[in-house]
Every structure is written in structure tokens, then in C-alpha cells.
Amino acid sequence: MIGGHDIVLPTRGIGRSTALDVCLKITVRHWKQAVIQSGTTGEIYNGYGRVPFGKETELMVYRDRASLHSWETLGADEENRNTMVHLLAYTETQLTVVVDDLQATVMWRLLGDIRGAIRDMVDVRPIENEQAAA
């Protein structure tokens, strides 16, 4: 996707869906006008509550509608740097966050919050493996 940085977060014990859920929830807190898109189907979800985390493996979160439009029009470009976060959760044990510029304040803060939330849950309250679900 974007030619940026991949940050891999261990999520052992949390479960894939919960990890994706937590990351998205934090991202949309940072970006109040965020637009959420499925990374596999391209479907735009009308808000956090519409995302089927049990079925999703990738989400793109754009800062706002203008950012989505810019990405759709230009692809990765200097104009839209740091306006999209790519979340990938294909396994139960890790989640990858892809961002443009790790040093940008907006991304640094966002990643810090995501890392803190995931770490809290991994450390003190792991959830049973989702593979146990029917």
C-alpha cells in the first residue's frame, strides 16, 4: 500500500478481531471525521459501528473524506502524507500498522496510543483465542 513504515504489534491472547477493533477505535478518536474502508473489498463503512471485525482482515482509515479522495485520485503522494493508516490483522498473534511517516507528530501520538492500548490488554487481560469460537 503506502510506502511507509510497518509497525508490528504482538497481540497474543487478545484475538485478531479485538486487536483490530481497539486500533480502529483509537484511530477514529484521533480523527473525528475519519473514513473507514475495507482493505479487501474497498467497501466504505459508515462509522465504527458498521465494521464487521469478525470478517475483516484489513482496514484503511483516512483522516477525512478529502483524504480518501486524494488517495483515490493520486495514490500515495506528498499531498496526502500522514492522512491514512493501514491496519492489517491476519493472525491471532500480531497486528501490523502501516503509516507514512513515523516521525510526524500526528502519527507518533496515534501509534503511541495504539501501542499502549494493545500492550495493556496483552499484559493484564488477554482474551481467549478466537479460534475457540464456532
Binding site: 491472547g13 482474551i127 475457540a132 464456532a134
Partner: protein
């Protein structure tokens, strides 16, 4: 309501049922009936507060549970754990709303040993901005607070959601 044992099993919480059966022994059926009864009461309380047509969040009934199980089983697990921890229909309505996206705008807890406990949580629906409040005077409902995710946003406190524990 759908069979409570079936809901737990399909949500991946078989161990919850097994452990309850072991702990309660001959009274296991009574325990499970209690869960089913609390769930029914929560469903009634939800419908009173949120007529289906007025909310984008799935209703707290068989249809909504099935939809949540299909799309977001991790959210249903969090809800079922809450069902084990509280007998308050109001608190369960609150949990259902949080797991489906309502923002936690305020929470207040007061306590005096041997005298009183009060928990009030105020939620806001994303998009519509509809605000609702939930109250409890049962100290056991403080257990629900352990499910809350938290963060600081620009140095300010934010509860991010309601998540499941490992069973």
C-alpha cells in the same frame, strides 16, 4: 430468546458453561435460567429505550445477537461476560451500546463503605449525538469497569470501549 447455552457456545465461551456447571452442580440449570432471565429483561429494557427504527445499532434481541455473533463475535463475548457479572438490565443495555459504538462521555462513581455505592455512565451515540445515562447502586457492577479500554488523547482521558477478558 434463543437458548442461552447455545449463545455462549456459539460465541466461543464453552468453558464458561462448563465451569458454571461444575461450580453450581445440581443448581447449574438454575444459574443458566437466571442468565436467560436477565438477558430477557435487558432485551425489554433496550426496546423501551431504543425502538429499533430509531437506532442504527442492532437491537438487543435474537436478531441483534445473531447479527453480532456473525459480524463481531468478539463483541458478543464481551457482552456475555458482562451478563455473567451483572444482573442489571440497565447495565447490560449500557454494555450493548458501548460495544456497538456509543462513546463513553462521562462516568461517575461514588462509594462509602457500608453505606452507599453509585455508578452513573453517560453515553453518546455516534452520528446522532443522542445521549443516554445509566445508573446502578449495586457495587457488583463495578466489575464492569474492568472491561473498559482507556487512553489519553492530547493529554485528556478517554475510555475507548468495552472489551472481553480471557475466560
Amino acid at each position: 430468546m434463543t437458548n442461552i447455552i447455545d449463545i455462549f457456545r456459539r460465541a466461543g465461551l464453552q468453558r464458561t458453561i462448563d465451569e458454571a456447571a461444575e461450580f453450581w452442580g445440581d443448581n447449574a440449570a438454575q444459574f443458566l435460567d437466571g442468565l436467560a432471565d436477565t438477558l430477557s429483561q435487558a432485551s425489554i429494557a433496550y426496546t423501551k429505550r431504543f425502538p429499533v427504527a430509531q437506532s442504527t445499532i442492532p437491537p438487543l434481541n435474537d436478531v441483534g445477537i445473531a447479527e453480532t455473533l456473525d459480524h463481531n463475535p468478539h463483541k458478543l463475548r464481551a457482552f456475555l461476560q458482562a451478563l455473567e457479572e451483572t444482573t442489571s438490565p440497565e447495565m447490560l443495555v449500557m454494555v450493548w451500546r458501548i460495544i456497538h459504538g456509543d462513546d463513553i462521555k462521562a462516568a461517575e462513581m461514588s462509594y462509602e463503605e457500608g453505606k452507599r455505592f453509585h455508578l452513573r455512565v453517560r453515553l453518546e451515540e455516534q452520528g446522532s449525538g443522542t445521549a443516554t445515562s445509566y445508573d446502578s447502586e449495586n457495587i457488583n457492577d463495578a466489575r464492569l469497569l474492568r472491561h473498559l479500554g482507556m487512553m489519553e488523547l492530547s493529554g485528556k482521558p478517554v475510555f475507548t470501549g468495552f472489551f472481553a477478558h480471557r475466560h
